[in-house]
């Protein structure tokens, strides 16, 4: 804190410094390449972590930045997943265009739902998102002629990426693809959160009454960010479909909505890297714990969550930031 407030006379410099890439960020993204070299047999897991991280990032835009808690975000993930799957099933297996269509359709759904969402706050908002998510689950189950119902959608086959790279058993293509998409959408989100719009979102999170008192168009902001978030979630769902060539009701179920919320809060909501770190820690922990004991892995995961809340409030990144700050102020 002391560093920040040290007599910055020019406001431009200060904000520019905030927007600049920190060396830790560069290191983080370089580290995402390590699985190719160090753990090539974990690439399938790595690609699913990247997809989950993207999904968590989409939730972070509405929850971490605009303060909209959602327990039904799987609706968009699932909508994108089914869209991507159906396009492929109907004979168009080209991944990139499929992903765009998945994003677009999830965005349309998100835009429509945003008119309901923007009207509510607090528990009512949570229950609305939950209710709409569960409704979509039931629709997907009922419409088994379209979605394959509980058996899952059959007949999803992707063409090679860019006409060259097949989706292989080891997950090289899957991870490369998921990682690039994650990185691009991360750049987009980073740009968004550093924009005037991003500032307005934080304003909505911090104080909606004050937003009205400065004449802000909060509801239209909420609709915009909800739509963008839905589109990104749809991309994540589409990626899952394309890299695994399967779609099931699991993509829209309550568990997925709850998991992504846990992942984001675990990592630290309101920080772009929160969802990414949360996804890595949660999924690696689950993979390792369930490898050790497939039956009772819930136990150590539960203890992990409890410990994070007790010792690192505001998620792992939030807690670390506080520790670093207090360490800095002590060392000065």
């Amino acid at each position: 804190m002391a560093v920040m407030s040290s007599a910055v006379t020019n406001p431009h410099q200060f904000l520019q410094a905030q927007n600049r890439w920190h060396w830790i960020e560069v290191a983080f993204w370089l580290a995402t390449l390590l699985p190719f070299v160090l753990t090539p047999s974990y690439l399938s897991l790595a690609s699913q972590i990247a997809i989950t991280a993207l999904f968590a990032l989409s939730l972070d835009l509405i929850l971490g930045y605009a303060g909209i808690v959602s327990l039904g975000h799987a609706a968009f993930f699932g909508f994108g997943a089914y869209t991507a799957g159906l396009i492929s099933k109907w004979g168009w297996g080209e991944p990139l265009s499929g992903l765009l269509i998945a994003a677009f359709s999830a965005a349309v759904l998100g835009y429509l739902m945003s008119f309901i969402i923007a009207r509510f706050r607090h528990l009512t908002l949570i229950m609305m998102t939950l209710g709409l998510g569960l409704l979509l689950f039931e629709v997907a189950n009922k419409a088994s002629w379209l979605t394959g119902g509980a058996d899952g959608l059959q007949g999803v086959h992707m063409w090679p990426l860019l006409g060259m790279f097949r989706f292989d058993l080891y997950g090289y293509t899957a991870y490369t693809y998921a990682l690039i998409v994650l990185f691009l959408l991360f750049l987009l989100s980073r740009r968004l959160t550093n924009s005037p719009f991003g500032l307005a979102l934080r304003g909505i999170r911090e104080n909606l009454t004050r937003m009205r008192a400065i004449g802000a168009t909060s509801r239209s902001h909420i609709r915009t960010v909800y739509t963008i978030s839905a589109a990104i979630a749809g991309v994540a769902g589409g990626l899952l479909t394309q890299t695994t060539e399967t779609v099931s009701l699991g993509v829209v179920d309550f568990q997925r909505s709850a998991d992504v919320l846990v992942i984001l809060v675990l990592g630290g909501a309101g920080r772009l890297y929160g969802g990414l770190i949360g996804a890595i820690i949660f999924m690696v922990a689950r993979d390792q714990f369930s490898g050790i004991n497939p039956q009772y892995w819930y136990f150590p995961i539960g203890v992990l969550l409890i410990a994070v809340v007790m010792f690192l409030p505001n998620g792992i990144l939030g807690g670390l930031a506080r520790l670093v700050a207090s360490w800095r102020s002590r060392s000065q």
Partner: protein, 251 residues
């Protein structure tokens, strides 16, 4: 006489059987400093809430210039120049002062919808926000999160946020509430130095300040306007004395 900048006609508001506003008629000309006084529970904050649209009146109309704004939402009224501050700090705790004022400027200019350009690309917005903060002596702390500012600085930030919207009419709800008297001079200096294009209505309990700042005074009691006049008229009015002296035991 030209059209008043802000006027109301016959505003009524009840909460159940409790009358909080009854037949409120005001007309504020451009540039005038109005004080709104009255004992606790007189309905002063309610009136501000009604005017700014945080509450809807049961009956009556509100005009900003010639335009009726009775049915507009609070944010629409703000964009037309009708702006308020809050008696209890209503700020963005985790935004820096500069970010908060920048946000208000962006909203005014319609830039807040832009999500593809970084905020650093808006040089003139930052300059404007910074100059508002400078004028309110907040520049040295502008990069601190709001929650870390001193209480008096937060009160100033309330005004800074309102100014960033370029108000025509500014409603200040006890701007110095909670600020020790010897520290409130900065605040009132700021209010005094506001542009004469801005019409100001402020709620204040300290009569010394009221009489020093206001060019006209409205006295409210029990949800009604008791009397309106110049400071001298109000000081001489026996009904006001009755309310403030005789009514002391109500307080």
């Amino acid at each position: 006489m030209s059209t008043p900048v802000l006027s109301t006609r016959g505003l009524d508001k009840n909460f159940g059987s409790l009358v909080v506003a009854k037949d409120i008629e005001i007309a504020l000309p451009k540039g005038v400093r109005y004080a709104l006084i009255g004992p606790n529970g007189a309905g002063k904050t309610t009136l501000i809430n009604l005017i700014t649209g945080m509450l809807q009146p049961d009956v009556g109309q509100i005009f900003l210039g010639d335009e009726e704004i009775t049915r507009l939402g609070p944010e629409q009224r703000v964009r037309r120049g009708l702006v308020r501050t809050f008696q209890i700090n209503t700020l963005f705790p985790n935004l820096t002062a500069l970010e908060a004022v920048t946000l208000a400027v962006c909203e005014r200019r319609g830039d807040a919808k832009t999500w593809w350009r970084p905020i650093t690309a808006y040089g003139e917005v930052l300059d404007e926000a910074y100059s508002i903060l400078t004028s309110l002596l907040l520049a040295p702390v502008c990069n601190r999160p709001t929650r870390e500012l001193a209480y008096g600085q937060q009160r100033l930030l309330e005004i800074a946020l309102a100014l960033a919207t370029r108000p025509k009419v500014l409603l200040l709800d006890e701007p110095a509430a909670g600020v020790p008297r010897d520290e409130s001079s900065e605040l009132f200096a700021a209010i005094t130095s506001l542009s004469q294009d801005i019409t100001v209505l402020f709620i204040e309990h300290d009569m010394n300040i009221v009489f020093k700042l206001a060019s006209r005074i409205i006295v409210m009691v029990g949800g009604r306007i008791l009397v309106e006049g110049t400071p001298a008229e109000i000081a001489a009015d026996p009904r006001v004395r009755e309310v403030y002296l005789g009514g002391a035991h109500h307080g």
